[in-house]
Amino acid sequence: MKKSLVGLMSLTVVFLLAMVLSGCGEKEQADAPKKAVENVIKIGFPIPLTGDIPDVGESSKNAAEMILKQVNEAGGLEVGGVKYKLQFIYDDNESKAESAVAATTKLITVDEVLAIIGPQASKQAVPAGGVADNYKTPMISPWSTNPNATLNRPYVFRGCFLDPFQGPVAANFVTDEFGATKAAVLYDIASDYPKGLAEYFKKAFEELHGPGSVVAFETFTTKDVDFSAQLTNIIRANPDVLFVPQYYNEVPLIVKQAGALGWDKPIMGSDSWGSGDLMGLCGDDCKGHFFSTHYAAAGATGATKDFIEGYQAVYGKTPDDVAALTWDSVNIMLQAIKDTGGLTGNLANDREAVKNALGAVTNFDGITGEMTFTPDGDPIKCAVVVKIDDEGQFSFYESVCP
């Protein structure tokens, strides 16, 4: 008797706690059913709200919510003379490949979205792109730079440049800027993006300086926190520069440990550095290093400046490149929906019309640069090299175009 009473009481406490903690979620659900009668365009976002890179999911959602508010407050999106309200559905891909497949499938088949924006990291975008293409649903991955995400998939597009382009950008930059003739690479072999980029960098650098000029090519596996063995190997090989194409949660550990082992030469990064709270996690240790990316917030002008100021006003922080690319991707998608000239209501036909309109978009003037899609669904656009300055700002250093 006493035992079951204790059990019941502790269960009650757990449920009460759970209700308190989830209290903030209730409001969103309450006003969802009202919209059923209006003309609605649904767009799905399979993004990483939890898992390894939650900041990326948050930035995506922030940028999307800004557009949603803007369009719906203006009465909706006008397509072929009819006003449609936008409805954005966010589904957590937990930063896992298998969850990205599940979330994308659910958005397409259960929620019946017209189009997909996301996933962001290549690890999820490559498998999710296969799902979208199978179901003939147009998808734009704003941030995935791995070629396989869009390769031979007519329904899949991306909002950023590719790793094969970013690799040479980094290789050329370290050669010109630091006079580097020997380079080292440290990357996560279990993740599509770092692995692809590390290999493109190695290829480009060895084309410039001959075979063997990448003197250390060290790897680790996702979730590793101790890189001392790899960094000891790298320091022993005595390269001029270290290339680290990793995400913001690993970069601080690598940079700090490298410093503790006596590394005092430059470290070059890739666009994954710019997302999330890199400086909050890394602090002074990351200052003075460089990375290639899609846009630089410091020193922006025009529409980009307006976007940054609008974002800061709502969320109180500077938008990262994920936010900027998501903004452009959603806007291109909306542009393509408008370009169809009118929706039929038949989901399969509309999805195909949107795909065709996306392929026809030329010189779209985005905040991360002008974009035109190649037949593969990849945009032609420029890369930016930024320096992390003494105030911890990502300041514009150099622009590199294809």
Binding site: L49, D226, A229, K256, D277
Partner: protein, 309 residues
Amino acid sequence: MNLTFFFQNVVNALQWGSFYALIALGYSMVYSILMLFNFAHGDIFMVGTYIGFVLTTGLVALSAAGIVVLPNWLILVLTIVLAMLFTSCLGMLVERIGYRPLRGAPRASAAITGLMIGIILQTTVLSIMGAQRVLYPSLIPTTAYTVGGVSVTNIKIMIVFVSIALMIALHQFVQHSKWGMAMRAMAYDYAVVPLMGISINAIAALTFAIGSALAAVAGIMYGMAYPILDPSMGILFGWKSFVAAILGGRGSIMGACIAGFLIGFIEIFVATIFPSTLRDLIAYSIILFILVFRPHGLFGEPYSARLRL
């Protein structure tokens, strides 16, 4: 492999192995008393790290606001003491609600209890702290010293020394205190010893408390060495430390320490010599190989779970 390079890796391995050793102790002690593995221990380590994070952040904020101005070393000491206390309470709570009611239950039920508690702890921390990575505040600025070409930081030295000091303290406690004697007696036979007036509940709670306190210290030092925390950090660490506990010989305190350092050394040196991708593959193949020849672990004896040192 020249000598400097070799010693650099030895230093790296000592730091890495310290964490495995401290966490393996928690597994080993619980096993020797209750004959079961507390699979939630990796997550208790994680919670200990977060408790340390909250305490340090709070105390630093209080100091910065000028409410209670404390020097950094005092903040560190307070954090360690309070985190040990809170995490011990958590360990005892886990024992009280997770293990004690199931003591007579089938083995499998007691084994999955740990897994479930682990998941509960992870999701609780996830819902309170959010999925965002947090930065463990640095109380002591990292200073790197170079001794004969080998880079050593003050943090590394502290970690290795504190770990070894704790192991010696635990040894003294188990061998030379009344409670320690009771624990050894209980490990010898937990069916008969309670008949002599020693409460198995008290001893079990004490064992969980000590194991959790060690995990809390490991967590705080982990935060200082690898300052990016996330709620799933305890899983893989817990598994590998569990391997250390088994490899050391189930129930052997010295075995757990030595095996923890051994795993640290194997992991670091494999990553140094082979492509680092193969690290876990080769490292754990070696450990499997050792177990084939020493099925009871390095210091284990057949049919006995005595708490030895």
